[in-house]
Symmetry: D2
Subunit: 366 residues, 4 copies
């Protein structure tokens, strides 16, 4: 049965993430070296599948990419072929073009489609599976917020980057007796803030899961002063919000005559704190995209490689419609039908990690 | 003559900067090991001198600090004892309290004061020299904009941090075909942007010294597309400005009911470019204080150590009122009277480095 | 019951390991901030306990050490108080001095002893537990070879260092068409070689668990040449050995008139390969102690902090004689009686990681 | 006149060095973008020139290589076409085959040959210049021992790597009260040891230029103990030697039945010190090839880019037979006739850097 797989295709969708190239490399090498399978890669995720825009993936193509961030297949953020913007009769309309994709796969003789992506990208993967396409999913998010897998690649690299930045901010905070905020990624989940905050010796961590009370921040600053510590490091998740307020998302005010882009929650909080606490300077650093680029960490290189090999093994075992995942330290899989639609995995505010943070004196300003 | 120096004091002023601790260590070790001089350090720059708030610097105190960013003596940004905010009769008034400082130095038996700082801090050093205090200056700025010295410590570390960030932004820009802006420090001088831009493989560098034409940015983006490069990396100096506009400085709008902190030139330009160029996403990262904190680079550790040793040698040679500097690769010195008031050292727009950048195809959007 | 713990003592034994300071910090902060427990730390492991040589551990003492390698309590490698070298009547004799240690603990009013160490150190911890001392163990080894815990801190930092070295060796190997060997730590277990080999894109990995056939190495080199790859990266575990030979341990030949220190297996193999393969240069790098020093990785900082907090929670729960461990991603504990004497955890040669390595084309030269 | 240059060739010779790719990129981009010159690159240095084995260098070929160590043109260490090993009548003989190279250049229409290399490689470049070939030289060595230029690229990266290793060794030395030796590259010049030793906070630096007295090492160790410092970090240049002895070079004893490769001076000294100093463990780390591989430092990326641009400008100005160099911070050039045969640039034992090291308490064990 398995012998029938002669050709597979890969695509990467959603925001880029360290480890994507490592998965591409592992899938390609495993398929070619062990099973003589031909491998192609669609460019820009589903858009490439729609346009039949692909490259051949050989041992040479994937040489030297293990450690490199980004994806050699490129990615796009929003393309959903089941609801795709196309031009018809001179007008832009949204329609289901998934049949075009299925046709392209057939024409190229692709037996299995390996989809590496986050929630949105994998939802489409499930929908293609429902249409009869043999699909294998590989989960991807630096935010670590997928319920179906304990850890995703990219997350460890992200917290490495944030932790190094916190190390840097410490010296300048200490020298100037400042309050330093560092806004980090994570969308509606606080994993990056929590783990990097513990590793980077933060004094206060603000999570989406625990709305903050700004007065508790001021109390912690004062408490630290009384202990002879005249600086405070605060890690703010981009999805954090005050108890009595909303999430503030950075945005462009395009019509504004004058200044232009408004900061997110980190900058808002910096402003609020400057008004509340008079005897400290407050500074905010928004790390932004440096968190998701650059060299892949050792941990993520290994995890991505395991995911890539497992994806091929799943197809060899005929387990289509499944997604690779990690449970504890064991690679396993789950069906895309189960996985899609699951609630985002949020930080358990009664869980071990939050308790650990509290025990060593980190405040959540709750 | 030299034998008369029995005790010296150190202070650090202005923004913190990698290498400060290395200077403190080198001064302390050289003074103690070679000349049996006692060393103290005032805390928080001139404020500590005014309050007679100091610590003893011994071989133990300066052990293990060579590589650490920040300053173990702390720093403050704005304290000028010749125009100092003090409370008098319940009111805050500004007055010249430099005599208090001179008294403190006398009472502690300090023979020489070593001042490590930037323009403002060294201006006060000169003024103390005019009052008869034996002063030695050591220049400090990550911006590398002092006319009196070819290179200052902290600059190499800053461009290391920016270059690493640019490396990271490359992979994500490339994967998504984005325009990535990275706003960097440097005040009114473009050195950090220029050198990190060259090292980090930027496509466009925007300097304070060369006002930019936004249409030239769009042209460069298009030109790159035609070469098959669908992403563009732009390094923006915080002091850059459009040909027909002003510098935009990030600021807090404290009275704003709603959003809060307005971005600087990087974010403004991101907004402008999103309006001008429709088929690319634009993202801006503002590196902020990570540029001036953290571990000191190898280059800066050596330069700072040379500065520190030279500062002690100057005083042993009786050359008071002088500032250590680097000319070519040679340590020398110049009088504070000459140095203070010199124009900021800006990027020479006809100089070798700008020419090198242009020759390898970097655009300045002029 | 728990309220009775008023004072605890820490000690670190065996080879140093990134994360030791993070454990010390977490234990100290958790004990002081949550339970008002006083904390002291014996210097140089059991030797300090014997000599009653300790320091007080306060919030200040453990400030700024989270990321630092090594141990602020110092360590010694071989001191076993149950078989300790002491001078008696002018002669050095070995005897059981554990009663002295028990006395010292009593005199200082130490309620619980937290022992951080590897096999040997924890064996003594068990023996003290048998004597009635309330002991909590924390496992430590960069080699990751303890059966009782899935992961130990220090291991991730070690593979980070090795992986970065492999990244560096790649460029020089590729430029010169060389065979590059890199000898890494791990004692009789191949974990460091295996994981760093996967992450660092090794072509051949030699493990203690899989004796190597040198002809298979030559075959792999030839196979790579035929694929147009004229260089080969080999990671050699220090405990690796040829099928027909012994482990070669680096050693000093003190009596040798001439040269002096003989290399280990890496250098032996380099010599053997130069004889066997004529058309490639062979170079060997022995990473040595850089693998166990320096800044602690993000992953290890978090894991160590969890271990430290858990150690205090164990004692609060009255679970003496237990050792903290990690199962999957869950912190738990096991009794020292169970743990000690367990066989070293070796690489499972049929396990997932070895299979992953083989699937992507890594040879074990078996 | 300059318009006549239509095609140029590049080659890299000698040991690989971070920055080679940056030079290749800068030459290629400058030539193509500014002067429409076609660029080819010979593979494996002169060997490729002899075999007419080359690749075309385009904007695409040199994309993404700025930061990468090694050389995309490969290198070989020993090929001298003026005394080249060729097979003739079934026998290997050495003969002058430089005419073949000249013929190849003519046949390909190469107007100018850019040679990037060290002493040996540039000597051949001069010899080709004497034969009428239009040659431009670019100096390369991580050892920084060329008299004709103040700094060479690769050197800064090398001292970065060594300094980071010394940072790592510090924590383990301190934890165990050890004497740690670190043997570094540099051939017969001590620059790497000297600068990395200062930056990495070494206690003793052993240079080829200052033969060491082992008793002075022991004295320094004792002196540190008396100051409460129970560990000592020694940086040993591979070319260092005892006052009464020879340089010990690591070598393979191929005929040895048993172990195989004998260590160099670092390991010899470790052996000697273990005999001399009884109460400290001694460990030696030989950094080896990690010093010359991996990512290129910021400083070296900029310097290499300047060299590459300058090489093209030299040819445009018709200055053939010249070599690019750096004097102070100014790019200039010198004739290969002058440069070749100059004595190696050794550390000036009375110069500023050695004095700086001594002033801060570093011993040279002289």
């Amino acid at each position: 049965m398995e012998q029938k797989i002669k050709k597979i295709a890969l695509l990467t969708g959603g925001g880029d993430c360290p480890g994507l190239n490592a998965v591409i490399r592992a899938v390609t090498r495993t398929a070619i070296l062990n099973y003589g399978i031909e491998v192609i890669g669609y460019k820009f995720g589903y858009r490439g599948l729609y346009n039949n825009d692909f490259i051949h993936l050989t041992l040479d193509t994937v040489s030297g990419i293990l450690h490199r961030g980004g994806t050699i297949l490129y990615s796009s953020n929003k393309d959903n072929l089941f609801d795709y913007l196309v031009e018809e009769n001179g007008e832009l309309v949204k329609k289901d073009v998934s049949d075009v994709a299925v046709e392209n796969l057939k024409r190229e003789g692709v037996d299995v489609l390996v989809v590496i992506g986050g929630d949105g990208t994998l939802t489409s993967a499930r929908d293609f599976a429902r249409k009869g396409v043999k699909v294998i999913g590989v989960p991807k998010t630096i935010d670590n917020d997928l319920a179906s897998t304990d850890v995703t690649f990219g997350f460890n690299t992200a917290i490495d980057v944030v932790t190094e930045a916190l190390d840097r901010l410490h010296t300048t905070a200490e020298s100037h007796h400042r309050i330093m905020l560092c806004e980090v990624m994570g969308r509606n989940a606080g994993w990056i803030a929590l783990e990097a905050g513990i590793a980077g010796s933060a004094d206060i961590i603000l999570l989406p899961e625990i709305p903050y009370d700004i007065n508790k921040i001021a109390e912690k600053v004062k408490e630290r002063e009384e202990q002879g510590k005249n600086f405070t490091i605060i890690v703010v998740s981009e999805g954090a919000r005050p108890k009595d307020g909303e999430v503030v998302v950075a945005k462009i005010v395009a019509d504004s005559p004058d200044p232009i882009r408004l900061g997110g929650i980190g900058n808002k909080l910096a402003g609020d704190l400057e008004k509340l606490i008079k005897d400290h300077e407050v500074r905010c650093t928004v790390l932004g995209h440096v968190q998701r680029g650059g060299n892949t960490s050792t941990y993520d290189r290994i995890l991505s490689t395991r995911y890539g090999v497992a994806a091929v093994e799943l197809m060899i075992d005929g387990k289509f419609g499944e997604m690779v995942c990690l449970k504890g330290d064991t690679i396993s899989s789950d069906s895309l039908e189960n996985v899609i639609g699951q609630k985002t995995k949020n930080v358990n505010i009664d869980g071990e990690l939050v308790q650990v943070a509290k025990k060593i004196g980190i405040s959540f300003a709750e």
